[in-house]
Symmetry: C2
Subunit: 689 residues, 2 copies
């Protein structure tokens, strides 16, 4: 995977506007104005065969006519002219923004046009942003290479949007919300430059402190995971991913597939890559603001100062089920607090400075907390009659600038707090309108710091060519015989290669029925890829207690399912039933699915997902955080199942999925697991091509 | 329960300020200024023995000196003078606001003072708001009878706050957030006037369209439920209830008690009473704004119009798991839409009018939706370069005023949309900053409409004096014998009175052991209130298969537990295990708790709560919405348990709790239930005094 060099695209020294115009209502006109009138210092060329000049400037009749260096060409011309325009200039111009719509978003014809363009880009080594995009804005260069109006403040947030309109809305919000940007990039159809390439580029961009993305889809799951995991170690990636209710794109018939929601897989992928996922636009802006202005918190311990008991109570509620917590105030600190606060003040956390609190109490309390090494402090304030809002804001500002304290103001009010909030904001503090928003946002930022600190290992799966050969031999033989699925016996042989053992079993024939030696009770099953719902068709007999019953059942089943293979399995007891599967996600490829089996499968939907590659240790860690962790952590003093053994099974499945890509559906349902040192055993295995 | 007449308190024609002052920094001074300088038209008297005049006005030395009618006296004097001041004037003055702090919030002494004051109020028929409150503000009367500054716009929101500081913050927010109030009331210690009395008063108040409350506690659960249920049928009550993480106030040792969270019980109570519960300050303000400006939606069907695909996608996500839904657009309407929209526009819901949409497309689409009788329409807009924001706002405004359409603007942006949002807001439309906030808020309002439409019956429990006598005879006998709990046999007799049957059982003695006639297998148990953990001490034998085993087990158990009662129970099979209990909630009294029993009790915590009184039909409805509804609705085609039978058991428990208040702890764990017409059976019954 070669890194694309996007430097010249996003920081061009010279730009050609193809489709430049000065006719009102034309996108070309907006581009001309945006690029020439907002302070961009580079060279600008206009291209439009209709005109000789545009304004006072020459208009070239074709891009390739420009003899000087053109770092970037922006195309706002009908889709049908885009390919030839780029092709003709492609020896000299290497970076393009294609504003033009009319490509893959319009159907098959447009898709063909886009594919042709993509190929050209590959052959000629071009960078093409779009097509069907808004362009981009680089405030530090005063470059608005888009048809959205205005020039936001230069800052540390890179915003990448799959919706041009949302980029526009955010640019408009920028000033009132105090958002400042290193880049705003509209990615349109993501033909060649998608979220992954931009995460990589922006990860290296010195101006960018935080990457924020609005995405409706992810183009290449594997690439995304690889790049985002790496960049997340350097700077936070915040993604608002829409499409929670979209129908899963591939209909997957297997049982586990039906339980899987691809939105949940996206969440799993984001967590694996250290991406901060936000649920809505409010959260998105809040996290971007906080992460661009504050260093990530290194401690989970927080304090709350307030001049309003009610606000303190709301803050306490907001810490419920969070990874950040209200710190215990030590007896020594409490003593100090009592010395500076009135008797009725609360020195528990939240620290209630009382309604008549002025800057001295805020300052005193901040200093005591600082001595107590509590670094994260939410400073709540309501503008009561006697409150000197500006003075208190000043104290918070000075303390915040003096040293590495994370001071988060939460000034709740309107007119009486507005100018103080403006002052705090101007000095790079972020004021939140409610304690809940402040605490929610802060936790998300802290979680990213946790990811970064854990420095997750870069895992690779240890694949085995020998094992793969053995598995493929079995699979290819079945395919050659025209089967659509492996028999249980073959499935068991394959899974054994990957460390998953099946219950004791044997194909039963009239010849061997006397000497099976599996023990009793037995289960008798028809084992055929033609009969997928064997229970309903009488192809399953449970609880066969002796040789006599066995013979009778075999005779009957042989009669109904003439010529089909019949197998006997030892009917084992169990501690718990597990369901395992492989779900082919359209974005992230084969995903391991596991959960609670048996009658509760559909009631509780305790399903978990794993994305390859993972190490055994990582899988075990996830397992112990999973929705079925109670099996491995114990409840009511029961002996627990072996999490290492089960993690090995999951690792086996992961390897199996990688080495045998032609498997379309895969289920083990159920797998019996035990808490008494018995080995886990697959009872049914479905491998469908 | 006599309704308190609070008319004169909150709409006084004459006011005396006790503790009036003109010294800077005094609360009395703030009160004087607030009441005399903000437009209040009634008579005002000052009382302060220190002065002859305050400003140009006479200062009375005592409240009772004023010979004219005083509708309301506001006290801002030290706590120790409050009682005598009120007592002396109590023949002529009947309404008081006690601003003074220093009562129950300070400890035992203050509590005694408050109790004394409360008694005085009862004896003399007084209305006292507070003590320890901020006062109240009645904008329509231009009356600010509080020590918070300013005079908010008069409007339809009554805001009641247990935190004075939050009331202050909201008053300050009022203008920027376009909040307009009928009343703002700070309730302080809620000595005599709590949320319940105010809900009742505001329920009748013509100016109030929506009641919003910030509460940290509820004073009287039963009264609250009764009043709120009634008022909810007239106007929405929106409550921000803090205290989610507060430790449950009563330590309850029983198993079900340990699972119960009193915050969840508050939620159950609110749902029962039709109260809209909000989770945070943002939601609170949003619902108040919507409910004060819009009629409640009578249909769950919504449409989304947007000029930004991305915003439409976010809106679609926000409908996930909601009670309101995106309406299907009929083929006829789609045809009409296609006729007025460009080919690339989407006529599915969300209807994407495209980035270059102007007022004509919004207007056309609105008219088509109106013809299609879709009444709830979210109008999303991002200010794209070509967007005429003001014109589109005008169209929405006209359509909203023309007829009963619920048009919710969601203009996303900053400077470019600010003046249009201001215009919409001024004309009583509520603009939301994000689609998520709009849709979340709208659903909450719709849910209230659902409650109102369902017109829930006012339930009463049919109690029975005979049954109560019988139960009490058994309980009192055990108490007289010095027992702390009922034996299983006695518990079973009591529960049978309430329609809950126990498994077949009998006390075993050396004499009757030969002729028990319970069948096999049997369970043998020691049945004593001294041995509560019988399993651990060997007081429980399962799976006794025949008479011989029975005799052996009995002899052994008799040896270990000398002199204790031993019982035999038929060891029944089961379909599912249920856990039942009664939890004494400090606010709402006895609450019925039921959930999934057995090994999954603590893992899945499928616990549900019921608040008395309820009818059988109501209980069954709740059961079918409960966390264990899968037992009664069926999963995987299994036969289902009888929901009516189980509802009868729950009703029995509810009656039991009402008729036998001396029971401190009550558990049935487990109750076996069946899906094959067998009756449910209690296997263990714990009744502790």
């Amino acid at each position: 995977m070669k890194k694309q060099n996007l430097e010249k695209l996003f920081a061009p020294k010279s730009i050609a506007i193809v489709g430049a115009s000065n006719k009102k209502g034309k996108i070309g006109t907006v581009l001309v104005n945006n690029i020439t009138k907002l302070g961009y210092k580079g060279k600008v060329y206009f291209v439009n065969p209709t005109y000789k000049v545009i304004g006072l400037k020459k208009s070239y009749s074709a891009l390739e006519e420009i003899t000087s260096q053109v770092d970037l060409a922006i195309l706002a011309i009908p889709a049908k002219f885009v390919f030839q325009t780029i092709e003709k200039a492609s020896d000299s111009v290497k970076n393009f923004v294609v504003i033009s719509a009319g490509f893959s978003e319009t159907g098959a014809e447009g898709k063909a046009l886009e594919d042709k363009l993509k190929k050209l880009a590959q052959v000629k080594g071009l960078n093409i942003l779009g097509p069907n995009c808004l362009g981009f804005v680089a405030p530090a260069l005063k470059l608005n290479a888009s048809f959205a109006g205005g020039m936001p403040e230069a800052g540390k947030i890179a915003f990448v949007s799959q919706s041009g309109a949302l980029a526009v809305a955010l640019m408009d919000k920028a000033r009132s919300e105090n958002l400042a940007f290193s880049e705003i990039i509209s990615i349109g159809n993501k033909m060649q430059i998608s979220e992954s390439e931009l995460i990589e580029y922006l990860g290296d961009d010195k101006q960018t402190k935080v990457i924020g993305m609005y995405l409706e889809g992810i183009k290449d799951g594997e690439k995304f995971l690889k790049i985002a995991s790496k960049v997340s170690l350097k700077k936070p990636i915040v993604i608002l991913k829409a499409g929670k209710t979209a129908k899963t794109q591939l209909a997957i018939a297997s049982h586990t597939g039906a339980l899987a929601g691809s939105d949940e897989i996206t969440s799993v992928a984001f967590e694996k890559a250290g991406v901060i996922r936000v649920d809505n636009l409010d959260e998105f802006l809040n996290v971007l603001k906080l992460a661009s202005s504050y260093e990530a918190p290194t401690s989970s311990l927080c304090a709350v100062l307030t001049n309003a008991g009610g606000a303190g109570v709301l803050a306490t509620d907001a810490f419920k089920d969070k990874n950040i917590t209200l710190a215990e105030i030590s007896p020594a600190s409490k003593k100090k607090l009592r010395a500076i606060l009135p008797a009725e003040a609360s020195v528990e956390n939240p620290i209630d400075l009382l309604g008549d609190a002025q800057q001295d109490r805020y300052l005193g309390a901040l200093e005591i907390l600082q001595q107590a090494k509590i670094e994260n402090i939410f400073c709540l304030l309501t503008p009561q009659n006697q409150t000197n809002v500006a003075e208190i804001a000043q104290v918070i500002l000075e303390k915040a600038q003096a040293r590495k304290l994370n001071l988060i103001p939460v000034f709740i009010g309107g007119e009486k707090v507005a100018s103080s909030i403006a002052k705090l904001t101007k000095n790079n503090l972020v004021n939140f309108a409610t304690p809940e928003a402040a605490i929610n946002t802060f936790e998300k930022y802290y979680n990213w710091q946790l990811f970064k600190t854990a420095k997750p290992e870069v895992s690779t799966l240890k694949l085995s060519a020998t094992r793969k050969d053995q598995a493929q031999t079995i699979i290819k033989k079945a395919l050659a015989e025209g089967s659509k699925a492996l028999s249980f016996a073959d499935g068991a042989r394959v899974m054994e290669l990957y460390g998953v053992k099946a219950v004791a079993h044997s194909v039963v024939t009239s010849e061997n029925i006397e000497k099976l030696d599996l023990g009793f009770p037995l289960v008798l099953k028809v084992d055929s890829d033609k009969i997928l719902h064997k229970t309903e068709q009488g192809g399953l007999r449970l609880g066969i207690k002796n040789q006599e019953e066995l013979k009778k059942a075999f005779a009957e089943m042989n009669e109904v399912f003439k010529g089909e293979k019949i197998i006997a399995q030892f009917q084992a007891g169990k501690f718990a039933e597990i369901i395992l599967g492989i779900k082919k996600d359209p974005i992230f490829g084969p995903v391991i699915v596991y959960g609670l089996g048996g009658i509760y499968t559909e009631i509780f939907k305790l399903v978990n997902f794993l994305l390859a590659p993972m190490s055994l240790a990582e899988i075990e860690t996830q397992l112990l955080k999973s929705k079925i962790n109670f099996l491995f952590k114990g409840a009511r003093g029961q002996a627990v199942c072996n999490s290492r053994e089960f993690a090995e099974i999951l690792l086996g499945l992961m390897s199996f999925a990688q080495e045998n890509p032609q498997v379309a559906e895969f289920d083990i349902n159920p797998l019996f697991i035990y808490n008494d040192k018995q080995e886990a055993r697959a009872v049914d295995i479905k491998v469908i091509f």
